[in-house]
């Protein structure tokens, strides 16, 4: 059944405002999505009613906060279809998830001469941690090239794989171009040479149905704030046997079983990787965001976003001077583009004058921009609360801006 978008919009207070005298059109969803009222309320309710440190308190508030906190873990387990809650580790976000794996998996399993594979599409957060690790260990970082459409060269990937490959860390859906990678094929090939695989799900998790068991990935990372949830929070999924084999990330409270000055034993999963008092309020509010998505249904969300994407792509393509960047067959709702003769910063500022929020620049993917020989792009990205009429406004504004440098 089609979604009632106006009803959904009514749940997002931030959308109902004017920016520069124009109704706000929020097309920067790949950077962060807005939050529904229930998520905002959950944050405030927690501090009004439930605030307490979790897990070891012997009182009612602590027990309540613990139950709410852990219920988000269960929701998230189901959201990505993990086998058990112990495989879900709360982090600060996707970046920390990747850094945790680079640090802990790297410490134990990466040695001199080993190889790690990433792709040209990666966000800096899926490049730099591996560069640091490779430098430290004397390992080699291999990069899968992409074609003009922004799709990875699968044959080149197969050629990079060898018995030296210990890990493949790849983006599920590109934040800069929207490209959805053929992850099933990638995972199965990686496993054939015995490599582990990490999927960066920062962009994919809000658009695609995720089933980590069916995918058979070893790690999956995501960020709450791109899933209609709070900022500064994310999660790392890891298969139990891999997580169990890894040393802890940080030392502190929560992650220990017993501490003596002679020796410390570590807690069970997932607490082994959650040192210190966690981000309790945001985890609880994140649960509301997951329920919001579940209530609408991923399939219905994807159908709506796909419709917006194909409509926007078709309409923008008619504009003289419009240059799409990344035209993969399989995409999430992201359109990256340039206007002939104009810098993306200028385009972004002019769109902002019309109340339209887009992202401009390199989108934390400088090597990808270098691949296309550009400094950056303008990126419009759509979420469930966006409408066709908002896209009409975008198209009209882009057309007007393009005319400055492209006489038709």
């Amino acid at each position: 059944m089609a979604l009632d978008i106006q009803k959904i919009r009514a749940q997002f207070p931030i959308l109902h405002q004017q920016v520069n005298g124009k109704p706000l059109i929020y097309f920067d969803n790949a950077a962060t999505t807005q939050k529904p009222q229930e998520v905002i309320d959950a944050l405030s309710n927690y501090y009004h009613m439930d605030n307490s440190n979790i897990h070891r308190g012997a009182h009612t508030l602590a027990d309540r906060a613990t139950r709410y906190y852990e219920s988000t873990r269960t929701l998230l387990k189901d959201f990505i279809n993990a086998k058990e809650e112990a495989e879900i580790i709360f982090t600060k976000g996707t970046t920390e998830g990747i850094n945790l794996v680079a640090t802990c998996f790297g410490k134990k399993f990466i040695e001199q001469g080993d190889e790690i594979i990433i792709s040209t599409l990666e966000h800096h957060s899926n490049i730099v941690p591996w560069q640091i690790l490779c430098e430290e260990k004397g390992a080699k970082l291999n990069i899968i090239p992409i074609n003009e459409e922004g799709e990875i060269d699968f044959e080149a990937f197969e050629n990079l794989l060898s018995s030296k490959t210990k890990l493949v860390s790849i983006v599920h859906a590109s934040n800069a171009l929207g490209t959805i990678n053929p992850v099933e094929k990638i995972i199965s090939k990686a496993h054939q040479v015995g490599a582990k695989i990490l999927l960066d799900g920062a962009q994919s998790s809000s658009h695609l149905e995720i089933d980590v068991q069916a995918l058979d990935c070893d790690f999956f990372v995501l960020s709450a704030h791109k899933l209609y949830g709070p900022t500064g929070l994310g999660a790392l999924y890891g298969k139990r046997e891999v997580l169990d084999a890894m040393p802890p990330y940080q030392g502190g409270g929560e992650m220990i079983k017993e501490v003596t000055f002679a020796k410390t034993t570590f807690n069970e999963l997932p607490f082994k990787f959650e040192a210190g008092t966690p981000n309790i309020a945001d985890v609880i509010a994140f649960g509301k965001a997951l329920e919001f998505i579940n209530d609408l249904g991923k399939k219905a969300i994807k159908a709506h976003e796909d419709e917006l994407l194909s409509y926007a792509s078709a309409e923008l393509s008619k504009i003289n001077g419009f240059i799409p960047v990344g035209t993969a067959k399989d995409k999430v709702s992201v359109i990256s583009f340039n206007i002939n003769g104009m810098h993306p910063f200028d385009v972004g500022m002019m769109l902002d004058a019309n109340g339209i929020a887009v992202r401009t620049g390199h989108h934390c993917t400088q090597p990808l921009m270098q691949r296309f020989g550009i400094e950056g792009t303008v990126r419009a990205s759509f979420a469930v609360y966006n409408t066709k009429s908002e896209i009409d406004t975008l198209v009209a504004s882009v057309a007007k801006i393009a005319k400055l440098k492209n006489k038709s």
């Binding site: 910063f345 200028d346 500022m349 400055l404």
Partner: protein
Amino acid sequence: MSINKVQEEIIEEFDILGSDRESTIFYIMEIGAKLPEMPENDKTEENIIKGCQSKVWLSASEAQGKINFLADSNTDITKGLISLLIRILSGRTPEEIIQAELYFIEKIGMGNIIGSQRSNGLAAMIKQMKLYALGYQAKLNS
């Protein structure tokens, strides 16, 4: 025309544009397009102003005790901003440039028009122009 007289002129021009942000931005881009061209071989790494998000090249030369600036940028809005500064400060003595108080920026509410990132960039451009003036002042007095 004095530095302040030029500033008054600019304030008046922006006043006519009113509060419409889009036409103000179009105007800034328009004046940027009229900036005298900077020779390609002046666009060196050394002439890039640090602290700007977009690329801005600025060079200075001295003739008869007055400093002339040439500039360019890879973004049209930034080019418009530096062209305003050049209109005010080019062809002045080092002392005039060093002492210039560029109140037009606040008067026209430039911060609201261009946002905080670009305001920092604008401040970096002014600083670089004043640094050139200090350099030439020392040279001329020696």
